[in-house]
């Protein structure tokens, strides 16, 4: 009997010892809460899958390489419906209910515009997966953009079309969202002031427009050599391209067809035929590159995590880089108490000064004071077998 009691007492001591050790090791790594606002329902629900796959791929790399020394990241996905009205609801949830230390989201610039002030007031950093310049122009200090803005994209595309390809007659069809209008204004302004040219025509379109007869006829009448299609819907881009071929001439042999980053997305594979897509160019941050081991790893890990097993494109790359942005900032901060009142404030400072190499290129947030870290864009082109290659 006495021996049994001794045995039980020893075992209890051992259990308590191990529990203490375990709790000590858990306490060494604090949990940073990351709110992820993305569309989990609605038309853009596929992007929710993309966000998750990108984050899973990034965390796989972070964990395999032990990149996070003092923290572990916890992600909470909130449905923002991929629409403006869903943004404030999602923002309120992640800030007030979830208590996020940092957030990643949304999909449209208008969503950033309606939710950005929430993060500014709460002093919680928001990493925007958008490229609309209007978000940056608000002057918010708690916002970072995880790619180049539409303005950078427009500048890069114009430089390629005019300087590299030699086009002087360019027409523009653009979506009538904030990002599309800003890009269109920038294109019109740049083409006049920098290149001393004028747009052959500039026509807006609604997101759901599927007939471009009027726009194409105006471009044809104006003798355009190249058409910039700055939209959201890849399917609409294909309709426009086909109507150009029906009403005007062959793309790209007779009329060059270029777009915004919407034409870089994997949705192109679902809506364009292999024949139609060849020769279409676009400005983009991320371009697949077999020679870059970081990109190869990103592609493999994303494909594994994606329910559709697709290769990643531009939006996944932005989300992937956003995770590494957080990791870089947390490592720069060193060990701090996540429950302290100024943790998010300090994290924001670190985010706004972070320098790292992502799959889109070199990010240097300290070089700008506006939350933009990627200033250099690439020009990509679709080739045979739905391949993408960098042309500039």
């Amino acid at each position: 009997m006495k021996q049994r009691i001794k045995l039980v007492a020893v075992m209890m001591c051992l259990v308590m010892l191990f529990s203490t050790l375990a709790s000590v090791s858990v306490a060494e790594k604090q949990t940073v809460k990351v709110g992820v606002m993305c569309p989990l329902s609605g038309q853009a629900a596929r992007f929710g899958e993309i966000y998750k796959a990108s984050i899973d791929a990034a965390m796989k790399a972070v964990n395999e390489d032990n990149l996070l020394e003092h923290y572990e990241l916890e992600f909470n996905y909130v449905d923002d419906k991929g629409a403006t009205h869903g943004a404030p609801v999602a923002a309120t949830y992640v800030i007030d209910n979830y208590g996020a230390h940092v957030c990643i989201g949304h999909l449209l610039t208008t969503m950033i515009l309606v939710s950005g002030q929430y993060f500014e007031d709460a002093q919680v950093p928001l990493l925007g997966i958008v490229s609309g310049p209007a978000s940056v122009q608000q002057g918010w200090e708690y916002l970072c953009i995880e790619t180049g803005t539409d303005l950078d994209q427009a500048d890069t595309l114009l430089e390629y079309l005019i300087n590299d390809k030699g086009f002087s007659k360019i027409g523009l069809i653009h979506v009538n969202t904030e990002g599309g209008m800003s890009a269109a204004d920038r294109i019109e302004e740049t083409i006049q002031k920098v290149y001393n040219l004028s747009l052959v025509s500039r026509d807006p379109m609604a997101t759901e427009d599927m007939d471009f007869t009027a726009q194409v006829l105006k471009l044809k009448e104006g003798g355009a050599e190249a058409v910039i299609f700055w939209g959201l819907s890849q399917a609409a881009g294909n309709v426009c391209m086909k109507q150009i071929e029906q009403l005007w001439g062959q793309v790209p042999e007779e009329i060059f067809f270029a777009g915004g980053t919407n034409l870089a997305q994997n949705q192109m594979l679902e809506t364009w035929s292999e024949e139609d897509i060849q020769g279409v160019v676009f400005p983009v941050g991320y371009i697949p590159n077999e020679d870059d081991p970081k990109i190869v790893r990103f592609i493999e890990d994303f494909r594994e995590a994606d329910p559709l097993k697709q290769d990643p494109a531009d939006v996944p790359a932005r989300v992937y880089d956003a995770v590494f942005h957080i990791v870089t900032a947390l490592n720069d901060m060193g060990a701090q108490d996540v429950d302290s009142d100024d943790f998010s404030i300090n994290l924001n400072k670190a985010l706004r000064n972070a320098v790292f190499d992502g799959v889109q290129g070199h990010f240097d947030f300290s070089a700008n004071d506006n939350g933009v870290g990627l200033s250099r864009m690439n020009i990509g082109e679709w080739g045979p077998g739905f391949s993408q290659r960098k042309v500039k």
Partner: protein
Amino acid sequence: MVMLIQALLSGVAQGAIYALIALGYSVIYRTLNMGHFAQGEFYMLGAFFGVWLFTKLNLPPIIVFIASGLLTSLVMLVMERLAYRPLYTRSVMGLLISTLGMQYVIQTIAKIVWGSDVKRFPPMLDDSTVYIPFQDNRIAISMQSLWVIGVCAILLLALTLFLTKTKTGLAMSAVSMNRKAAALMGVNINTVITSTFIIAAFLAAIAGVLMGPLYSVSFTMGSGIGTKALTAAVMGGFGSLPGAVLGGLLLGVVETLGALYISSAYKDLFSFIVLISILFLRPQGLFGQAKVTKV
């Protein structure tokens, strides 16, 4: 001049699609004196069935059209039994709200079954372009547009013959005039109403299969076009088949010409200005019949 003719042709082709779906609205209104908010979703369903039948089962185009129409009609049959029939003896408003709800139900089911990604529908019919010399230029007419206009014309004719020459068609007219009297004359009201919804679904499905290869297929493709087709039906006169077609064609032409000569930013605005103007001058629509109320 060439630009104008080209735009007119394109507007007519676009309008023919609105007309096909608007015919469904008009058929339902003709029999039941009410709208059907879920009509656009049957256009979407038809397109999804079409892409599945064509790409997965490799069926010939004519079979794809018929089978898509039948499958979509089957879905309508199930929906009608579950969500509409229990409300036939209640107020019309309840049935109308039910159609509004079914719009979202069908969208969600389509999203679950086929996913949220846009699907490419390979061309089934000849999608080449015919060029007609005109002055020093040429006018392009796509075979796709000719197919759309042709199918619309054939279906209008077939539907008109069905409604005026067949027993079921005449029964539908009788139900619309006086449901109780029709029932007393031996008309099976439920069968007539079911037939009405099925015909409307079939028409929308044909439109979906026609346009799927051009616009690609997604679970949200029905909402926008459903609204435009409703506008066309109202323009032409709710309940009038020729009115639905004329309204659709007018809507397509107004949109295209307005975008060409004024601005594409206000495409929808032009359509609604024309709609409001027509309703001000002729509230029953272009071909609708004014209702006389005896006091």
